[in-house]
Every structure is written in C-alpha cells, then in structure tokens.
Subunit: 768 residues, 2 copies
C-alpha cells in the first residue's frame, strides 16, 4: 500500500503539472495570434475582432507588454466576476446550471469535510488496532475506519455521521432542485418567441393509400384541433443529401489548400494521383481535379434537392405541426391523439438547432427492437471492459506485483519509480481507456433513435455513468481487492458483495486519491489549455484560411459535452459520498477538484464554449438522480463494511437510510420533475395573452413556416451547418415566399384554412 | 411425501364436497323463497318480481315440481348461453372482462398441458433415477423432473418446452391485451353520456386569503381554459354527516325490528335497557326509545347539513370541474395546469358512484408520507405473517412430523388420518389465514388516499398478490423445504435461493395439488351456494322486512370483489407456469379449476352480482403484468432447479428467457397501456361532434351540475346510499334549481360567464 510519502510525491507531480498547464495557458492566452483559440465566444458574439492592422506588426502576433505576464492568474477573478443572470444571458441556462453542479459539490462536501475531520478523524486516529494487527497498513489507513477494532462502540459515531451526511446531502439537493426548477421556469417564461414553443413533433403517421403524409397530417389536426392548428412541415429523409454536402465541403477544403499552396509558389503546377490516398492512379492537376469534383458534387446535390421532395420514398411518416398558440401546442404535446396509442405520437419539438435529423428518418416500429439490442450490447460492453481494467489495476499495487513477480523487486524498489507507478500510472491508463468510450456510447444512443441532440447527450451520459460505476469504481475496488483476497472472494456469493467491496474500500483510498489528482486536477488544468484546438487552429489557419469567414470556421469553440463531463463529475460525488465516512482524508482532494473545475469551466463557458442548443437545464433530474444513487451506494457499502466489522448493534440502524433516501427521491420526483418534462398550461396561457396584447397582428405563420426545414435545404450556401441558427432570425424573407397549395381539394373544411398550410418544398428551394 | 393414493383420497373428498355444494345449490335455487338470494340481479333490473299471490300459498315457498329437480345441473348451459355482447350489456364490461381472465387461463394452459403430457411426462417417466437413488419419493415425483439424473441430455427437452410455454403464453397475452383494449375503447365509444366524461377532479387548490375555493377554482379555469370551462362542484368533508346518517339507519332497523315484534305479539310492550348491549341501564320502552333516538339524529343531521356548506373548515381544497366538451375534459385531465407541479393537480373524475368520498377529505400534502408509512407497514405485515404459515406448513409433511415427534407415529400412520392431514388440513388452515387479510389490505389502500373505489380495489389486489406470493407460494415452498434441508438452507446466501426453491418445488407439488382442490374446486362450488347471504337474507327477511323496499335492501347481491378474487386467480397462473415444466401432472387440476370457476362466476355475474361501479376494464394492465411476473418467476426458478441438476450445457440458454419476457412486457406497456390510462382526443372529438349533431340544444350544465355532490346531500331520504346511481338519471329536476351566484363581482371576465357557475349548495338542499 502507498504510504503518505508516495501520495505526497504523486500530489507534488500532479500539482506541478497543473500549475505548468496554468502558466502555459496564462502565457499563450496573452498572445494575440492565439486570441481566437482562447476567446472564440467573443468573436462569435461579434464583440471581439482581430487586432487592428495599426501599430507594430509584431504586436499583432506576440504580446510584449511584460506587465500582463506579471498578473498571469488574473483570469480567475475575471471568470468569477460575471454574475449569474448575466452568465445566463451570455451563455444560456444550460451552461449556467451546469456550473451549479460544481457548486453543488462544494455545498455538499465542504460542511461534510469539516464534520468528518472534527469527529471521525480523531475517532479513527486514536486507535492502535492496525498496529496490533499483523496487516499491511499505511498512515492513511490509520485515519480511516479500518483502524477501529471490531465490535467497538466507536462505530456509533460513524453511524451518526452517516445519518448527518445523508440528511445534509438530501437537504442541499432539495434546495438545489427547487432553485433550478425555478430558474428553468423563469427562463422559459422570460424567453423570447421560439418556434419550438408553438411546435409539436408528430411521429408514426399511419400510411394512407390516397393521401400524402402532408395532407393526412393537415386533415388530422384540422379535425382534432380545429381552432388551434396553424401549419406543419413534413420531415424528409435527407441523410444522403447531407452526406453529399459534407463531401463537397471536404473537397472544397482540399481545393482551397491547393490554391493557397499554388498562390504561394506559382513556379510549378501541383500534380496528384487520383488513387487511394494519392498513392497511385494517373497524375492530374490537383486544382483542376478538385474543381471538377466540386462541380460534379454540386450537380448531384442539385439533383437530390429536386428529387427528395417529389419522391415519396424520402418522405418520413413524421411532421412538425405548429399551432396558433403556445397553449394549443402544450395541449397537443401532452395528450394522446388517436385510439391506437402507437399512432400519431406527439411530443415537444426540440428547438430547430437541437433536432438530430438522422433519427427522424428511423421508422418508429423498429425503435423497441433497437432499444433491446442496444441494451444487450451495452451490457456486454460494460462487463467485458472489466478485463483490461482488472489487469491495469493489478499494476497499481506494488505488493501485488512483487508477490506476482519477485524478480521485478529491484527495479520497483527504486523510490522514485515506485512512487511513479503508484501515483500516476493507474490514473493515466484508466483515462486512456475512457477516452475512446464516449463516441461509442453516443453512437449507441443514436442507434436508439433519439430525436434531439440534448436528449442524445443525456442518454449517453446515463450509459457513461453506469459504465464508470461498474468499471472504474467497482472494477478498481473488486479487482484490486480480488488480488489481495482472491481466494476468499471467489468463494463468496452475491449478497456478500457489499461486504467484500465494503472491506476493500478503505484499501483503495490511496488509488482513488491519485485518480482524483490526475483526472480531476491535471485534467481540469489541461482543459483550460485547449492544446488540441490550439494546434488545429494554427494548422487550419496556415493551410486553409483565405477569407475572414474561413478564419471564423477555423476556430472551433467546442462546447460543454454533457455526455462525458457530467458522469465524470458524478464519479467524484460518488467517491466523496462513499469515502466521507470511511476515509475522510479523501474529501479535501475532492473539494479542491470541485473548486478548481468550477473556476476553469466558468472561464471556459464565458470565453470559449459555444453551446449548440439550449435545453433549459432539462438535464437536472438526471444529475439529481445520479447523486441520489451515489448516496444509496455509499450507504449499502457502509452497511457491508460495518457488517464485517461485527458492529452488530449499530448496523441495523443503517437499514433505514436507503429506504429514506429512496423515498426522498420519489418525493422530489413528484414535486419537481414535471417542471422539466411538461409545459404548464398556465405558463403558456400567460405568454400567449401577453403576446397577443403586445403584437396583435404578428405573422406567426410566416415565422414558423420554414423553422423546421432540414438545414441542408435552408442554407443559401449549403456547407454552413450552423445556419439552422439563422432560422430564428431570418424568417422575414421566408415570408416572402408565396405559399402554393396542392391538396386544397381534399381539405374537408372551409377554405379559410386552405392557406394555413406549409409551403411545398420547391418554393423554399426556389428562393434559396 | 404424499403418494398417489393420498392425492386420490384428497381429490375424492374435495370432489365430493364440491358436488355436495352444487347439489345443495341446485335444490335451494329452485325454492321460490330463495329466489331473491340466487337471482337478485334480475330483481334489481326489475325484470323479475316476487311470485304472484295467485296459486297455492305453498308454491310461493317451496318448489314441488319434481321435473325441475331432475335437471338440477341445467343452470350450467344457461349460464354459458348468454353471448358476450349481451353479457356486457347486462352486467357491464368489468364483469365480462373479469370472466376473460378465466378464459385466459384455459387458453394458456390447455395447449401447454397437451404439450407437457406429450413430451415431458414420457421423458420424465422413462427414468429410474429415483429408484436408484436413496431418496424418499412418490409416484408423482416419478413423473416430475426430479426423476431425471443429473447432467442428463434430456434436460434439453425441458429447456425447449420452457421456451415453447413462454412464447405461447406471451402470444396469448398479446392477443388478449389487444382484444381487451379494443373492447374497452369500443365500450367507451358506444357508452351513453356520463358525467365523468366531461369532468375532471382538481386537487390541491392553493389556499387564497380573499377568495373562497369555489371562486378560486372558477377563476383559474376561466383563465386557463376560457372557451371550455362549464361549471364545477367543490368537495365537502361530509364524513361526519355520513356517519350520522349511517347511525340513523341502524337505529331505524332496530325500530323496525321492535315494531315488527310488537305487531306480531301485541300483548306486552317491549322494554329494553339503554346501557351497553342492553345489559344494564334503566329500562325504557324500546319503540319510544328508538323513535326518540331517530328524531335526535334527524335533527343533528339537519344541523350538519346547514353547517357544512357554510363552514369553510368543511370545504376541501378540491373540486370536480366540468367542461363543455369531452375534448376539453380530456385535455385538462392529461395536461399540467400550474407552474408548481404540486398545485392544481388534475385527473379524470371517477364516475360518481365510483368516488370514494372519504379520501377526498385527505389533505394532499400528507399523501407521500402516508404512502411511505403504508409501504413499511405492508412490508412487516407480509414478512411476519410468515411465522404462523411456516408452522402450519410443517404439519403438512408427515415425514417432518415423524422426524420431529416420533411418539406421534402410531396416530399418524393410520391411513385415513394421514391422508386427511396431508390432503385437506394445510389448504384449509391457509384459507383461514387468508380470510382476514383483504379487509386489512383494503384499509391500507384507503389510508393511502386513493379516490376511486375501483382504484382502491386494484391497489389492494396488488398488495394481496404480493402477500400470496411471499407467504403462500414462497412461504410454503421454503418453509417446507427448510424443514427437510434446514442446515443446508441456513448456510446459503441470497443468490442460492432460486436454487433452493427450485429444488424444493417438485417436492411441494402434492401440497399445491391439494391446495388447488380445496381452495379452487370446493371454493368455487361454495361461492355459488352463497351460504352467508342466504342466511342473512332470511334473518333480515324475518326480523326487519316490512315493505318491498325493505326486502329489496335485505337482499345483498354482492359483487365480484376484484381485490381478493383476481390475486387468487393469479396464484393459479403462477402455479401453472411454475409447475408446467417441473411437474406437469399438476396442470390438469388447474385446468379443472379454471373451467369450473369460469362457469360458476359466469352464472353469478348473470344472476347474482351487481357491480357498484364500471371502470371499463381499467384493471387489465394489472392482470397482464401479474401473469408476466408469474412467468418470470417460473423461469428464474427453473434456472435455479437446472442449476442444481448440473445441466451445464442447457442452463445458460434459459438466461435469455427472462430478458425476452421483460422486453415483451415493456413492448405491451407502450403498445396498449395508454388505452387504459388516457383518453384519446380523437375519440373525444368524435363523440362531441356526434352529440352536437344529435342534440344541438342539450342543457349539459343542468346535467352536470349536481352529478358530483356527496351522496348524503343528494338523496331525498338520506339513508339510501345507492342513490348516487340516481345522479345520471335525475338531472332534469336539478335544472329547475335557480342558480344563485355570489362571486360574480370577483369574476375578471365578461358576465356572459357569470352564469356558468355551480349552484351554491343550499339551493341543492332546498330542493332536496
């Protein structure tokens, strides 16, 4: 087991790396030529622009003002300065609430730490159980619960602390849930008009022999929501078109690259081979080649565009239906439409830029099966990942290795190497494992057919958390423990597992401390340095950028990445809650993590990240739920641990804790969750009335008409994905489009409705 | 272990009892003076009436026509004759669908039985494993899976059968769910106008300093459902009043009794003591005494009636809100109203006679806590019931007793006693245990604050099933098994339990067979005899009945009692599914039960029962879910059993079954359940349009106004509870009531609304 010294060294290493990162950041961010890497958000907002040509040319590239280097940490106060309302205004509610997760960590753990150090540490330290025992132990273990002799009355203090911690955590969670729910409702209420407020996504429109989907949808809603139906937009399967557009963009880049190269050196024409990776095939002039390519693609794209709307096989049995009022939309989204509960399924439309278009092309029937398959696949993924982790964990334990391979002793016994292995290695290897994962999980969620990017990220987050729980947490503990008490472990049965884990937990404290330092501390510091975007930006800048627009595209602000970030934070919650009673010494490390991460991400959100969507903190119920689950896990494990400590009188009292916690969770669910999944009619009615009063003759239809057209159809130059932003703003010129109506003859209702139809897609394309 | 002979004897005993019951029934039902006991339904429908005074007086009392006795079983064909649509018309959808549960049993188990006897019985029988082993075994065990040697390849056949059985069961369940869902929707669609179609129950109306609940409700819905709100009815806490009314009724009965006695024997006045049970206290003339009592009560009741509507502390923060259209009601019931998801909670109003008024008086806040308490209480109830059961079960096992108390051997070895003990005793004792239970569980559900009687019964049913599962099923198996393999059992851990139960299952086959015969066969036969109602009716008839109305009240038709009946049926499903693979010989007994019960209950539903409410088969999802759970249990236990049989190659293939079953369940849930919990707008819209076409100027308001007034307020003579029936019919004279409006001044909207208010209660009372 690692001694305090080892931990100290590991800590030193990690703190140094962290500081190094921070200094590097502090210097790089001051260089004007990095400005677009470290302050993209401001560029996107148009507040900041490239340094003016005036002044010495060198000034544009490097910052020579020494004073700015002195105050190299002054970004921290600036990051903390911005008040929350302004932050919401600046970066959206999602980001603001995301930061509250770190705050939540601080709120929960700071008081817990004080209590733990005031009560538990002394109680544990004033024993000599470990000295008297013949176990291998470390200074850390002496401060942990392992140092308490079996059957001791002192376990009562741990019991009481467990209760105190649980109640405090629940209290904070409750307050936070209340606050976030309020923020969400307030945000939604004060929000400007947005297409999704009026729009509902309808899926599984039943096939009809003599009516097109569009007609069918219109008639259904004219009948069942007569006073409220406004217009609708059928969904096209434009995945192929999207692919073409993407390909064209890539070719365009190559062309730019070649042209740039040529313009720099006019002497010789650039030749290339057409074959795979330009390794073989006949030589051609690359510029001509790419130009030809692009022309070809443009033609294909144009053809596709003509084809899709006319060809019924590209029309999905789904549509975005818009209503005259928010009230009507809220009603339609929350009610069941048809007799057959699997037809005409309505749900809130995600805001246009949040729609994940590929999923809309999935036939609804296959979804249940897809879910099953993914569930099984995920199960296997989770449990076969165990094997490599197990192997890595064994490395994390010197004694283990020495037992296994005595001939390694001389090498390992070198103080420094030993510390290195124990301190840094396991954390890093784990980290590498985890880097590949999120993309796989995201893919899985996509296969499940989730229709909003935000929802996609939430689903993957849930999977990711489960994965971390099984592999990183249980994996590390059991595997590591298995190495020490393998025989005792293999012969045990299911209900013994809490005990086994419980016993193993104190032993793994050191491992998790190092993990926190590597993944948490250095990780956060690395996040702020943004090495990858930095390099990529400069490469792009050198090879591709011709116009300012190119430069804007070259900088990739990135975004929060809820699907990976949140589960990792949750892991620290879990660790904190589990070790709060067992090995309080771990808590300060966690607090430092939360504090550092809070500052870093606040800075990033203000200056760098650029959220692609706004879900109005729809993710909070997940956050809440996972903290609760962490709490329950910690209680069960403590139960197991005390069970082995033969603390017979105190243990039974712990049984009440999980029950109470689960009940608390259900209470919160009924109390707050509806605020995150449904839209109260009162709210809707208020906004409607207000709007009607403010702008009585607003052309809502014009506003909504093209809000939900697949981005590849919308954008004037089709290689701009962000253009779905535009939707909200540029509806005015959409309204110029004269709406043609073909299905009028079938409309069973007076012709005042007949103009309340969506424009047939060709119109949109015409004006594009 | 019981031998085939013992089973035979037990079977004989039970069959004889069953037949005796049936004959007794056949004779009694033919006696005119029992007519009201065995055909009350027809009396309530007014189709049947007491025998006419014409003809010999004796004919009125006894049936002397011998021919009718010859065909003493002819009630069976008549019971089966009535076609389902007519049955629905006659007894409601609930009853018709309830019968389908028995049919479901037949559909599932008849084919399974054939397959099992064609494949498994031969496979099992053609072994001599038990002979060669030194185990105690019976002829039944020879036909069971226990007779297959370990590691045998023959287990493949059991595996395949398990798959076949699962798929067949799921297929039948699917078809049935489809059918019932269709029946429900059809029923709802073809239903006549009913107040609950237009009405929504609103709970948790927030308190308001300067507006009464009634005003608050009206304003809220005028604002948030402006075009749809029609009227509303606040809920009063009339529990005290209801008590008084009940008491008065009881006193009335006593008075009638005394008057009758007096009229029969005028010679002496009837004296009584006023004290407890008339044991002491001063003597008074009973008739005068009761008359005085009744006067006193009448006054109190009158006072209460005045008091309640005026006194705000009797006004609950809840109301029944009615809308102009079914569409609007459907919308309001399915949507969230206010920002705060715990205020203004809306749900479908149960039909008036289904409302459980006492629950409406429960403050909503306390509900979560009540749920927690009940959950814990139920847990303890379930698991401390184990102890007596366990004790009883030990009796059920001769070998056990003899081991335990050798000195009993001589007594027990008497062939008859032995058979008696093994055959009848355990079943009966279990039965006695279970008789007390339903009332307790019903009480628990009431404490949970369920607002509809139908929902109450569903909740208690769920509890009851859990109870039976733990105590009767697991209790019997483990306890019995524990007696045989106690030592091996105590040292085992949680994940071993499926194995232990699995091993024990074949041994308990005989016990469950006898249980089926006693509880199932004799039970059903006893049900048709209706001994208790028979006696009570005749007592009442002799002591209380003066007028025809009294006689109508004297006969108690009873009803299906979903809360006790359904879980018991489910228990047979469970047994059938568990033993289908293990001991197929048990299946025929179950089939006989389902067949017999089907006939009996069909007869009862046609001639006797009188449902108090109509929930349109809302209980089917529960039925479906419990059959599924039984299926999963059977799979897990088979897994455990094969695990002990070391059938290493075949066992893993069983793991897929539970996964598939659970997935199937979730599929059905999404596919069908909405049809049972929500009301599709399409439906509503269709009915509305139809109605508007049929009766354009219908006074809906008048119709709905008093539909949801507490029964004690409605009825002209207040000791008639069934009067809430009346609601649907007698709205016409309600409309004569001039509606006074007090809160008009606070109505923020044009006065065209001001008449769309509920009448203040005094009006209702005036005309009562």
């Amino acid at each position: 087991m690692a001694s305090l010294g080892d931990i100290g060294l590991a800590a030193a290493i990690n703190i140094l790396t962290a500081i190094a990162f921070l200094i590097a950041f502090a210097i790089l961010r001051l260089q004007p030529f990095n400005d677009r890497v470290y302050f993209p958000k401001w560029y996107l907002k148009g507040i900041r622009s490239d340094p003016t040509p005036s002044g010495a040319a060198v000034r544009k590239v490097i910052n020579l003002d020494y004073r700015s280097y002195v105050r190299f940490l002054n970004w921290i106060p600036t990051a903390l300065k911005m008040p929350e309302p302004e932050l919401i205004e600046h970066a959206g509610l999602d980001s603001a609430v995301y930061l509250r997760i770190y705050l939540l960590g601080l709120k929960i753990f700071v008081p817990i730490t004080f209590l733990a150090f005031a009560v538990l540490v002394p109680v544990n330290a004033t024993n000599d159980f470990l000295e008297r025992s013949n176990l291998i132990f470390t200074d850390i273990d002496k401060l942990s619960i392992s140092n308490i002799p079996n059957k001791s009355q002192r376990f009562w203090s741990h019991l009481l602390c467990a209760y105190a911690f649980t109640f405090w955590t629940c209290y904070v969670l409750l307050k936070e849930y209340e606050r976030v729910a309020f923020m969400r409702l307030h945000f939604l209420a004060s929000e400007h008009r947005r297409p999704d407020q009026f729009t509902v996504l309808v899926r599984n429109v039943p096939p009809d022999p003599d009516e097109s989907v569009s007609e069918l949808v219109e008639h259904f809603f004219l009948v069942n929501h007569p006073d409220n139906y406004l217009t609708h937009q059928v969904v096209y399967n434009a995945n192929k078109l999207a692919k073409l557009v993407k390909k064209k963009k890539k070719t365009q880049n190559w062309l730019d690259y070649n042209q740039l190269k040529y313009s720099r050196n006019q002497s010789k024409r650039l030749m290339m081979k057409t074959g795979f990776l330009g390794l073989w095939g006949d030589k051609v002039d690359s510029i001509d080649f790419y130009t030809a390519e692009i022309d070809k693609l443009s033609k294909e794209i144009a053809a596709e565009r003509e084809n899709i709307p006319s060809n019924p096989k590209f029309i999905m049995p789904a549509a975005f239906v818009s209503f005259k009022t928010r009230w009507a939309a809220a009603v339609c989204a929350q009610t069941q439409q048809s007799r057959n509960p699997t037809l005409w399924l309505t749900e809130w439309a995600p805001e246009p830029r949040d729609v994940y278009w590929n999923s809309l092309a999935i036939p609804f029937v296959s979804l249940t099966i897809r879910r099953l398959i993914i569930a099984v696949a995920f199960f296997f993924l989770t449990f076969f990942f165990m094997i490599p982790i197990t192997f890595v964990q064994t490395l994390a334990n010197i004694e283990g290795i020495e037992k296994a391979a005595p001939w390694l002793k001389p090498v390992i016994e070198v103080k420094f190497i030993k510390a290195l292995i124990q301190g840094v290695l396991p954390g890093i290897v784990l980290k590498i494992f985890l880097i590949f994962l999120p993309t796989i999980l995201m893919l899985m969620s996509k296969i499940e057919g989730v229709i909003a990017i935000s929802a996609l990220e939430r689903r993957s987050a849930a999977k990711y958390y489960l994965f971390i729980l099984v592999n990183v947490f249980l994996g590390s503990i059991i595997a590591g423990a298995a190495f020490e008490q393998l025989d005792s472990f293999l012969n045990e049965s299911a209900n013994e597992i809490p005990k086994i884990i419980g016993v193993a937990i104190p032993m793994k404290a050191t491992f998790f401390i190092t993990y926190i330092m590597v993944d948490g501390w250095a990780g956060s510091a690395g996040e702020i340095l943004r090495l990858k975007p930095l390099i990529i930006y400069h490469l792009k800048n050198f090879f591709l950028v011709k116009t300012d627009k190119d430069r804007d595209e070259a900088m990739d602000p990135g975004s929060l990445g809820f699907n990976t970030g949140e589960p990792q934070i949750q892991f620290y919650f879990l660790l904190g809650l589990v070790y709060a009673v067992v090995t309080p010494i771990l808590l300060p490390f966690i607090i430092i993590f939360f504090g550092l991460a809070y500052v870093v991400f606040r800075h990033q959100i203000i200056n760098v990240y650029n959220q692609e969507y706004e879900s109005a903190a729809a993710f909070w119920p997940d956050v809440h739920g996972r903290v609760i689950s962490g709490l329950i896990i910690s209680q069960v494990l403590l139960l197991g641990l005390l069970g082995t400590k033969e603390a017979a009188q105190s243990t039974p009292f712990l049984l009440a804790l999980p029950v109470l916690t689960i009940w608390f969770h259900r209470f919160c669910k009924t109390r707050f969750e509806p605020a995150f999944v449904r839209f109260p009619l009162q709210e809707a009615m208020m906004k409607d009335t207000l709007e009607r009063a403010k702008e009585p003759n607003l052309n809502l239809k014009g506003y909504l008409q093209n809000a939900y057209i697949h981005p590849v159809f919308k954008s004037a130059d089709d290689d701009d994905d962000d253009d779905s932003y535009g939707v909200i703003g540029d509806y005015k010129h959409d309204t110029l489009v004269p709406t043609k109506r073909t299905s009028r003859k079938n409309t069973p209702l007076p012709s005042k409705y007949s103009d309340s139809s969506s424009p047939s897609l060709p119109d949109v394309l015409e004006h594009v």
